[in-house]
């Protein structure tokens, strides 16, 4: 490492890195992709060790820091292994990704421990979680992250959680549940809505609702400025019955408001998707004259246009039932 040529000011670009690697490894280097902000190179398992060695030893690259290594469950295709490398001299980061040989039954991937000693425990982790073997690794047994006699590979997608078998997940699943037609079921979570299997949860939810009723009322007063609203926070009675009534009322109102908001949002989305003619020409010309770039001028002109239109709308709807004030807050 004495003749490291790499420096931050003349670090290779990802494309150059790929070219260099392709030059050294030939067919072993697959496609490249920018994933999650990291330049990722697909490597054939046969060239896995060699690729890491080139990246580590090549003076122009000098990837001297082994950042991390982990497995990915690629469903039917088996398992992937990703190694992230970092160069302390050039500041570049690169991810190498390979598909393990052996499919789902016996995934295996050459070990990087000869190149980076730090890969040792990370490969053990990948073994613990996915059951990927690393030929060339000193020893992946005994398991370090799970108990030693743990059975199965917990991060595989087909791993069954024992507790979930006994009791299904009580709430909305992530990312989303679909109804029969394949549409996403949308739920607006509110205070006390947390899904829970116990009566205690229910009791707590009721209490939380009652306790929060005045607060909700107040918040709505802020949002909804219509003058014909009869409720005031002071009117929320202190005894439980009245509080429950207030809570129910508040709920109804919240629903109505959510509907109105959704309608408004849809309206606004519709307005936004119109072609870009809603520019304020004056502002635009002026900014261009000032020597601003076209993009900046365009965005500023658009903002100015929207502002003007809002002002206009407000002027029109003055004295009307609903003003937009509450809405701008959550825009």
């Amino acid at each position: 490492m004495s003749e490291v040529l790499a420096r931050r000011d003349r670090a290779l670009t990802p494309e150059e890195t790929e070219e260099l690697l392709r030059d050294r490894l030939g067919e072993q280097v697959g496609s490249s992709v920018q994933e999650y902000g990291v330049f990722t190179l697909w490597i054939h398992p046969d060239g896995w060790q060699e690729a890491a060695r080139v990246l580590a030893d090549e003076p122009l690259l000098a990837y001297d820091f082994f950042d991390s290594l982990f497995g990915i469950d690629a469903r039917e295709d088996g398992f992937d292994v990703v190694a992230v490398l970092y160069s302390t001299s050039t500041g570049n980061r690169i991810a190498l990704r390979t598909r393990c040989e052996g499919g789902r039954e016996a995934p295996s991937c050459p070990s990087l421990t000869d190149v980076y000693r730090g890969a040792n425990w990370m490969e053990r982790e990948a073994y613990d979680m996915f059951g990927i073997e690393f030929p060339g690794h000193p020893s992946v047994e005994p398991r370090i992250l799970t108990i030693e006699n743990f059975e199965g590979w917990p991060l595989r997608k087909d791993f069954h959680l024992a507790s979930r078998v006994a009791k299904p997940w009580p709430g909305v699943k992530e990312p989303a549940e679909l109804d029969e037609d394949g549409n996403v079921i949308e739920r607006e979570v509110r205070i006390g809505d947390a899904p829970g299997p116990y009566d205690l949860d229910k009791a707590m939810a009721d209490q939380a609702r009652q306790r929060n009723a005045p607060a909700i009322e107040e918040a709505e007063q802020d949002e909804d400025t219509s003058p014909d609203d009869p409720d005031t926070p002071a009117e929320v009675a202190t005894d439980a019955d009245a509080a429950a009534g207030a809570a129910a009322k508040a709920e109804d109102r919240r629903k109505a408001q959510a509907d109105a908001r959704a309608a408004k949002a849809a309206e606004r989305a519709g307005a936004d998707s119109e072609p870009a003619e809603d520019l304020d020409q004056e502002t635009y010309d002026q900014l261009i004259a000032e020597g601003k770039s076209e993009r900046i001028a365009r965005s500023k002109a658009k903002a100015a246009f929207i502002k003007k239109r809002r002002a206009q709308e407000r002027a029109e709807s003055e004295g009307g039932a609903d003003s937009d004030d509450g809405d701008e807050g959550d825009a």
Binding site: F150, P154, A162
Partner: protein, 179 residues
């Protein structure tokens, strides 16, 4: 303990003896996750459980009377808790602090989390919450001290265990209390 666990002490002596025991609980903190932060908060000047006679940070399990398990116990860690518990001298008490150590908490379906410390060691007081406030720990400590005051050391040593106390289990919910 020699004589103590053989003989039932006469009432006045027992009273004084238990009074002394309940106000000098050396506490061994088994902090495992977020709840440990609340435990630490309970030991610092604002909540300060030394004023209740709980002395935090015993030098080791062999000097401790009270074990507070605060945080997420994993299967990997379970043998360590069991072992440290067994190193403690009798009579010893356990407070399970927080949902995780009570029952697994938010990780009830995890592959690696033990569903409650009571699966490996007997618990005297359960403090619910995720995390419980330091006041809840103080509440748990006082509940434990009440039990120590009224117990017979001989009985305790004979059957080691009593039914655990679960804070808030029979009391009406205190959510609506004015703040």
């Amino acid at each position: 303990m020699g004589l103590m666990d053989q003989v039932e002490l006469p009432q006045p002596v027992k009273y004084v003896f238990n009074w002394g025991r309940k106000y000098s609980l050396w506490c061994f903190n088994f902090g495992l996750a977020c709840c440990a932060i609340e435990f630490i908060a309970a030991s610092t000047s604002r909540h300060d459980f030394i004023r209740h006679g709980v002395i935090p940070f015993a030098h080791g399990p062999r000097q401790a009377d009270l074990l507070v398990v605060s945080g997420t116990l994993t299967d990997k860690m379970a043998p360590a808790v069991k072992r440290l518990y067994e190193e403690m001298p009798e009579p010893k008490y356990v407070i399970s602090f927080g949902s995780c150590s009570n029952c697994g908490g938010p990780y009830w379906d995890s592959y690696s989390v033990t569903k409650g410390v009571d699966q490996i060691i007997p618990v005297d007081v359960y403090v619910p919450g995720c995390p419980p406030r330091p006041e809840a720990l103080l509440d748990g400590i006082i509940a434990l001290q009440d039990r120590i005051q009224n117990e017979s050391l001989k009985d305790r040593m004979a059957d080691r265990r009593k039914d655990p106390i679960t804070l808030g289990a029979d009391a009406p919910l205190a959510l609506g209390s004015s703040s």
